[in-house]
């Protein structure tokens, strides 16, 4: 069984008026089936309001489905009395780096998760050292998080999740508030975790360039999963993507337009190198 499995997942945001009567109901995620196996690098794409963050919060039991079910590492989130046991398996990194760092010193923040789980002191230090090493932040361990750059803060946040030794990391638009350098740093760290430690990564983003290296891509629109496949399969359907208000990487777009104009090119070109090779063959 995969690490994350969802069947007919549905979630409604319900708005209540002053008297506690249901006033408004908005379905953010609807009829979503999802299977993720251990060690995969998954990307979830979608426009603002497509329900991708809501879906992400289900994988960590921060939200419990209105209908349908989701299993994380074999546990049904709706039936688990101790939700933090699920959260320990599936860590989550959020968008705003400032609002998820709890400690006043980098190493103390990384130790926060293990402290909550009741890990003995010596083991906490071991985990903290290892996690900081894994994201390349060991040199900053005694610094105050306020004095770090955005990319460094996000790497600290990732280390904080790693210290809980999860099987899966969910990153909810971790690069949305970062500059291009910070984005590169964070993505590099995430890819390394996936390759070296074999951690399942679920990356939620709306930057197309970030999903090229993923094993599998899900595209969401208005609460539904509308497309899924490898990046190459997804990006060969340029028109369909455009109908979901998503762009394709610039190179892919260029290749697609050249093809429309009559140049003989294969579908789904993802990198500049591929395009050059295809043009010069």
């Amino acid at each position: 069984m995969g690490i994350i499995k969802a069947r007919k997942l549905k979630y409604d945001y319900i708005k209540y008026d002053e008297n506690g009567q249901q006033q408004d109901c908005y379905t953010a995620v609807d009829q979503v089936d999802l299977d993720v196996s251990q060690g995969q690098f998954i990307a979830i794409l979608g426009h603002n309001g497509s329900g991708k963050s809501t879906l992400a919060k289900h994988m960590n039991a921060l939200l419990i489905p209105t209908e349908g079910s989701i299993w994380v590492d074999g546990r049904d989130t709706a039936a688990e009395p101790e939700l933090w046991k699920i959260r320990q398996k599936a860590g989550m990194v959020f968008q705003n780096p400032d609002n998820q760092i709890i400690g006043t010193v980098v190493e103390e923040d990384v130790g926060f998760g293990p402290e909550n789980m009741g890990v003995p002191t010596d083991a906490i230090w071991e985990r903290v050292n290892k996690s900081l090493e894994a994201v390349g932040m060991t040199a900053y361990r005694h610094r105050s998080p306020n004095k770090l750059s955005g990319g460094q803060k996000q790497r600290v946040a990732i280390a904080g999740v790693m210290a809980m030794q999860p099987k899966c990391i969910i990153l909810d638009e971790p690069t949305a508030m970062l500059d291009p350098n910070g984005r590169k740093e964070v993505l590099k760290a995430v890819h390394e975790l996936n390759e070296k430690e074999g951690i399942t990564v679920i990356l939620i983003t709306h930057y197309m360039e970030e999903v090229i290296d993923a094993d599998r891509v899900f595209v969401m629109d208005q609460g539904h999963v509308v497309m899924q496949g490898t990046p190459r399969e997804i990006f060969s359907k340029v028109e369909e993507l455009k109908s979901y208000r998503l762009d394709v990487p610039q190179v892919t777009l260029l290749a697609w337009e050249l093809k429309q104009a009559g140049v003989d090119l294969p579908d789904g070109i993802l990198t500049t190198k591929e395009l050059v090779n295809a043009l010069c063959h």
Partner: protein
């Protein structure tokens, strides 16, 4: 400009005082304050002065920093001394109209003055040598027995340390909002006190909204990292008494005992 404000006045240095357990410093400071009220004679004050001077020398913090802490208290100090000087009845030494200074008044004023100054210096030695974080940790441990009467000690100290972490972030945010509003013609500088206070309202509203949003995000991030209150929680940096901590307790207790002896003998 607003960013220059620092909360807590930790002075980083490597001294025996910096390395002491925060609990020792807390209780030690408290005992020192008690001793100031025990001391009542010249010899008592002399001993307190020597003790304080020794502590300052050990802390490796420049005396200048200690005296800085006295500045905001100067007016309070002045008022207390003047009141004591003029209002205590006794043998008159100097008289001008309705103002008279008495022998007893002078001694009392000097005593109160010394006590207040030492009190402030004594507690600033603690804050100068302890990081805010260590202070909260120490407080949490000292207050732990209160858990039995259902005081949420862990939660209070968690709130304190989160507040400490967010002070610089909120300061930065205030600065940003202020600049954004100044760019659109807001005026925070001129006018009288009431006008100035009024002009702060459009600053406070967005600041509060963003603080609430941050709190919401942070709560979710904490939950995502398995936070479920203080039960079954372990600590990464637990406070454990070392040899020098017991030594410090010993020295402080000997000092307090000496003050009590002086008080009873003299």
């Amino acid at each position: 400009m607003i960013r220059d404000i620092t909360i807590g006045q930790y002075y980083p240095a490597d001294s025996i005082l910096h390395r002491l357990d925060p609990r020792v410093k807390f209780i030690g400071t408290f005992l020192f304050l008690v001793s100031l009220f025990v001391a009542d004679s010249f010899w008592g004050y002399l001993l307190a002065t020597c003790f304080l001077a020794g502590i300052i020398a050990l802390s490796k913090v420049p005396v200048k920093f200690m005296l800085k802490g006295l500045k905001p208290l100067f007016i309070l100090l002045l008022i207390t001394v003047i009141f004591n000087l003029f209002l205590i009845p006794g043998t008159v030494v100097w008289e001008l109209g309705f103002l008279k200074i008495t022998q007893e008044g002078i001694t009392q004023a000097v005593k109160i003055g010394i006590r207040l100054v030492y009190l402030v210096i004594g507690s600033s030695v603690m804050t100068l040598t302890t990081t805010p974080n260590q202070l909260t940790d120490g407080l949490e441990r000292i207050m732990k027995p209160l858990n039995k009467i259902k005081v949420p000690v862990h939660e209070i100290s968690m709130m304190m340390s989160i507040a400490l972490r967010f002070i610089p972030i909120l300061m930065e945010e205030t600065d940003k909002i202020m600049k954004a509003q100044m760019a659109r013609g807001a005026d925070f500088e001129s006018g009288n006190l009431i006008q100035k206070a009024k002009s702060l309202i459009p600053l406070l509203v967005p600041l509060f909204i963003s603080a609430f949003r941050r709190a919401d995000d942070l709560a979710m991030a904490m939950e995502a990292r398995c936070y479920h209150g203080g039960e079954n929680r372990t600590q990464m940096k637990p406070l454990v008494y070392q040899g020098h901590d017991y030594g410090a307790y010993g020295v402080t207790l000997v000092y307090l005992a000496a003050e009590i002896v002086i008080r009873t003998v003299m």
